[in-house]
């Protein structure tokens, strides 16, 4: 059945595909870290008793979550240079380049999703835990960092990973600003060499292996961070 197939095309394209994969992984990792940090802050804001924090965070999250990712990437790429020009008055101002604008777009977009995950995680920590922390004299940040977030994140690990996998797969959207990730690289080679089936099969296999390994790793991590009982 595979007699018509030419799997050598994969071997020849490996360096290029590797480059694309490094780009995908790099962008995923950076956007994930940035998204989780920003998402945590947004979640704390949304759960704040102060309206001035709650409302802007809620608006931001709802706005970003109702916008397609591809649009956010697009906007950032084209709007940032315009904004820079407008602010600095320098009509030759360049944007921040496709990579940085994509990174910011992904981070801001993912932060909205992470915010909702983390908010649920924080709410899963019993109120008594917060009271106990407060009763010991811990202030808001001490109670949040020492007592609430460690327990919240422990509960959230699987769903944070799921979101990370979605993000990893979404990095292929960077083609709209002319960047090449793993999927983009595979796609380009496939079109160039006319080997669509082989390349797309290979890409699917790689995605499967990586995502499977990631969930395996998270399972192990989870059993390690669960306190003994």
């Amino acid at each position: 059945m595979f007699t018509d197939f030419d799997f050598d095309v994969i071997e020849r394209a490996l360096p290029y595909l590797w480059q694309g994969m490094m780009f995908s992984l790099g962008l995923t990792l950076l956007a994930m870290v940035g998204g989780i940090v920003l998402g945590t802050l947004l979640a704390l804001m949304r759960l704040s008793s102060y309206k001035v924090l709650r409302v802007p965070a809620g608006t931001y999250v709802n706005l970003l979550r109702s916008t397609p990712l591809i649009l956010v990437i697009f906007w950032f790429y084209f709007l940032v240079p315009i904004a820079v020009k407008h602010i600095t008055g320098d009509s030759y101002a360049q944007g921040i380049g496709p990579f940085h604008s994509a990174l910011i777009a992904f981070t801001l977009f993912e932060a909205a999703y992470y915010c909702e995950i983390i908010r649920a995680g924080i709410q899963s920590v019993p109120a008594g835990q917060v009271q106990a922390a407060q009763a010991l004299g811990l202030n808001y940040w001490q109670a949040t960092l020492q007592v609430v977030l460690p327990q919240a994140f422990r509960n959230m690990v699987p769903i944070l990973l799921t979101q990370g996998i979605i993000l990893f797969q979404d990095t292929s959207l960077v083609y709209v600003v002319g960047l090449t990730d793993f999927m983009g690289a595979a796609s380009k080679v496939a079109q160039r060499d006319g080997r669509l089936v082989e390349m797309y099969l290979f890409a699917a296999l790689i995605y499967f292996i990586l995502c499977y390994l990631a969930s395996f790793f998270v399972k192990r991590l989870q059993s390690r961070i669960t306190p003994p009982r």
């Binding site: 008594g128 009271q131 407060q134 009763a135 004299g137 811990l138 202030n139 020492q146 003994p228 009982r229």
Partner: protein, 244 residues
């Protein structure tokens, strides 16, 4: 000057009044037992003392500071008042020793070594030194509650609040916790305990406060309370819980 003084404290949840004009005092070294039917506002009353529950009217002075005042540094005040909860509320992601060390290091600024030394002495005292490295989930309810008491004591509190400390325990574990509390009381700790353990009240309490529907119905010395409670509601309550 009283250690804890309630002056006409009232609190509402929406339109429902949970505390009605509560006035009472706790002197230094006094042991007060707060009892009453469920939903009568006992827990809310003692959670007001360290500002875990805000109130809308009246004044509450703890160690010379007004709890409700905007200028009061609540974390600082809370650090001096120990609190023990019905559901223990140990931090499940930390070892027993880490539970005791956390606030000593973060709030009192003790060094980790000094904190650990203090923690170990307290664990020894509540009979749990062998469990110092375990996690809360590995201990029985009674053991967890004793750790929680040790955690509160590690802050060298000037008073202790107990919110139904034995209500979530299996019957055979109640005494190990009460024993620690009795010992504390006999050492002269100022204590405010919400509990239905009348044996404990008889043994160490100086005064008993009986609450019903958010009101302090009876605030009497132990002998008066168990001898001749003045209010009918307190009599009814006592006859219900002392029958068995």
């Amino acid at each position: 000057m009283a250690m804890i003084e309630f002056k006409n404290v009232s609190k509402w949840y929406g339109s429902f009044q949970v505390l009605k004009d509560c006035t009472t005092k706790v002197e230094k070294g006094e042991v007060i037992v707060v009892c009453g039917p469920s939903g009568s506002g006992k827990s809310t009353l003692i959670k007001c003392v360290n500002g875990l529950e805000p109130f809308q009217q009246g004044e509450l002075i703890v160690n010379g500071q007004s709890v409700g005042a905007k200028t009061t540094n609540l974390p600082q005040l809370r650090a001096k008042i120990g609190m023990v909860f019905q559901n223990f509320e140990l931090f499940p992601h930390m070892s027993v020793t880490a539970n005791l060390n956390l606030a000593q290091v973060k709030v009192l600024g003790r060094s980790p070594e000094e904190s650990t030394e203090k923690s170990r002495a307290l664990l020894q005292r509540v009979g749990l030194i062998d469990h110092a490295r375990k996690f809360p989930g590995q201990l029985s309810g009674g053991q967890q509650q004793r750790v929680a008491i040790a955690r509160a004591l590690a802050m060298d509190p000037i008073a202790m609040l107990f919110d139904e400390p034995t209500s979530a325990l299996d019957p055979e574990m109640i005494n190990e916790v009460l024993d620690v509390m009795v010992e504390l009381a006999q050492e002269g700790m100022t204590m405010m305990c919400v509990t239905h353990e009348m044996g404990f009240a008889r043994k160490v309490a100086h005064r008993v406060i009986f609450m019903d529907q958010g009101e302090i119905v009876e605030d009497a010395t132990k002998t008066d309370f168990f001898g001749t409670p003045r209010s009918e509601r307190a009599q009814q309550f006592l006859s219900k819980i002392l029958h068995h």
